[in-house]
Symmetry: C2
Subunit: 259 residues, 2 copies
DNA sequence: AGCTATTCGAGTACGATGTACGCAAGAGAG
DNA sequence: CTCTCTTGCGTACATCGTACTCGAATAGCT
C-alpha cells in the first residue's frame, strides 16, 4: 500500500477481511479518516499532518501509509466522509425545489461542521457518498424533458452557489487560524482602514455603494444564504419548461434591504 | 518591511520614491510579482517558492522580504496583477448582457493564461485591479431599479460560474503537475476504470446517464463555457425587472446535444 | 572629504512538512 | 518450529517559509 499509487483511491479499497499469513492490521482507513477530520475541524486542515494524525492514534506517521497511499488521497477520503453526513431520502420527493433546497442546506450544514472543506480547490470527488448526493440532485431535475446536459448545468448552478456562499461565510476561519486574528479584528485592523480609504477615494462607486447601502453583509448568515439561494432556484424555475407550480410564491426573492 | 505585517498589503504600498539616506532598492515589487507569475505560469504556483523567485532575479530568497511581508501577500499581489490584464472600457456600454459577457470571457482568458490562479481558495482580493473589475460588472447591472444587494447577488452568480467553469477546465493542470499524468492519462488510467465500474454497478443512474448521454464534456471548451454562461445570463435577464430587450434571442440556451 | 544615520542584500539557521527506505515484530500455514 | 507474508515504525532526506544577523551601500550634514 505504501507504493506510489497510480490509480484513484477509490480503486484501491481497503481489504477489510484478509485471509492468509501476516500480521493483522491494527488500524483502519475509517479510523484514520475520522481522526484526520477531527483534527482538521479543530485546528484546520494544515494541522492534520501525518505526524499529528499518527500521534492522536498512538502511532507514528509512517504507519498511516499502510492504509493510505498519499496525503492527498486521505483528503479525498475526508471529503467523501463529509458527504456521507448529508442526509437525503432514497429518492427525490417530486418537488424539485424542496429537494434541491434540501441538498443545499444539508451541504451548507456539513460545510459548517467541517470548515476546512470549503478551502479546498479540488477536482470533483468521485467517492460513493459524493456520487449519492450528485445523483439525488440530478434526479430531482429529471422528468421535465430536459437534456442531461441542461440538468447538469442547472445543478452546477446550485452547487456553485452553495460552494461559494459557504466559502464566503467560512473562508475566514482558516485565514483567521493562519494569522491569529478573528473576524472583527480582520475587519477593523486588517482591511477596515483600507476599505475606508477606498470608499473615500471615490474611484469605485459601486463598491462604495455596497459598503454604504448593502445590507446583506449585516444580515444573519441564514438569511443571507437563503436570499441568494432563492435567486438561483428561481433561475432554475425559469429554465424548466412549463412548471410554474414549484416556483416561489413571490415574484422575486425577498429583499432584506427593503426595496 | 520584513517585520510581521499586521495590516493588509494594500495598506503598505511600495515607497517608490524615497528621500533620505540609505541604500537604493535594487528590485521592485512589480518586478518580483512579475517573476513569480512567470514561474507559476510555467511550473505551477508551488514552484514559485521564495528561493526560486530570488534565483531567477539573481538574488537570494531573503532579499525579497524587503519588498513583500509574506508569501501570502505576494500571492495577493499576483492575483491583482492578473486582474490588471482584464481589459474593460472605462464604463459599461449600456448593454448589460454584453458587458457581463465581456467580463466573463476576459476573466476566463486571464484564468487560462495563469492556471494557478483558479486553484486558489482565498478571501476576495481587494487590490485596485480587482476592485476595478468588480465595479465595472456591478455598474452594468445598475439603473434597473434593483437594490444593491440584488445586484451583488446577480453579479456573484456570474462570477461563481466563471470561477467554477474555469476551475473545471484547468484544475487538472495543477493536478497533472503534481502527479505527472496528463488529462488523457488521468481519464484512462486514474479514474477511467473506476468510472466504468461505477456505471456498471447501476447504483448511480444519473451519473451513469451523464457519462453515456452527456455531450458537454466532449464539446470544445469554448462551446461548453458559453452554454453554461447563457444559462446564467438568462437567469439574470429573468431577474431584471421588465427589460426583455437584452435577453438572448432564443428561448433557452443552445443545446449542443440536440434536444 | 569624511562622518553618520539609515536602508538594502543576503548568508545562515530553525522548525516544519510529506514521504522513501529498511528492518523488526507479529501471525497464519506447513 | 519454520517459513512467508504483513504490519509497525524509527530514521533520514529534500524542501518549504522565514527569523535573525551583519556587512555593504548611500544621502545629507559638518
Amino acid at each position: 500500500m505504501s507504493d506510489t499509487s497510480n490509480v484513484s483511491i477509490w480503486m484501491r479499497p481497503e481489504q477489510v477481511q484478509r485471509a492468509g499469513p501476516g500480521r493483522r492490521p491494527g488500524y483502519s482507513r475509517a479510523q484514520i479518516t475520522a481522526t484526520a477530520i477531527r483534527i482538521a475541524d479543530a485546528d484546520g486542515l494544515d494541522a492534520a499532518t501525518m505526524r499529528r494524525i499518527g500521534q492522536e492514534l498512538g502511532t507514528g506517521a509512517m504507519s498511516l501509509y499502510r492504509y493510505v497511499p498519499k496525503r492527498d488521497d486521505l483528503i479525498d477520503l475526508m471529503v467523501d466522509a463529509v458527504a456521507s453526513e448529508i442526509e437525503l431520502p432514497d429518492r427525490p420527493s417530486g418537488d424539485w425545489r424542496a429537494d434541491l433546497s434540501l441538498v443545499a442546506h444539508q451541504t451548507r450544514a456539513a460545510g459548517f461542521r467541517h470548515p476546512w472543506q470549503v478551502t479546498l480547490a479540488r477536482r470533483p470527488t468521485l467517492g460513493p457518498n459524493s456520487l449519492r448526493v450528485y445523483d439525488f440532485a440530478l434526479s430531482a431535475l429529471d422528468g421535465f424533458g430536459l437534456h442531461i446536459d441542461a440538468m447538469t448545468t442547472l445543478n452546477s448552478m446550485v452547487a456553485n452557489y452553495v460552494d461559494s456562499a459557504v466559502r464566503d461565510e467560512i473562508g475566514w476561519l482558516e485565514h483567521a487560524r493562519h494569522t491569529g486574528m478573528d473576524r472583527s479584528q480582520w475587519m477593523t485592523e486588517y482591511v477596515g482602514p483600507y476599505v475606508n480609504q477606498v470608499v473615500a477615494s471615490g474611484k469605485y462607486p459601486m463598491f462604495s455603494r455596497n459598503i454604504r447601502e448593502g445590507t446583506l453583509s449585516h444580515q444573519p448568515p441564514d438569511v443571507r444564504f437563503q436570499y441568494g439561494l432563492d435567486y438561483v432556484l428561481n433561475a432554475i424555475a425559469d429554465a424548466l419548461p412549463g412548471q410554474p407550480i414549484h416556483r416561489a410564491p413571490d415574484a422575486g426573492p425577498t429583499t432584506p434591504g427593503g426595496c
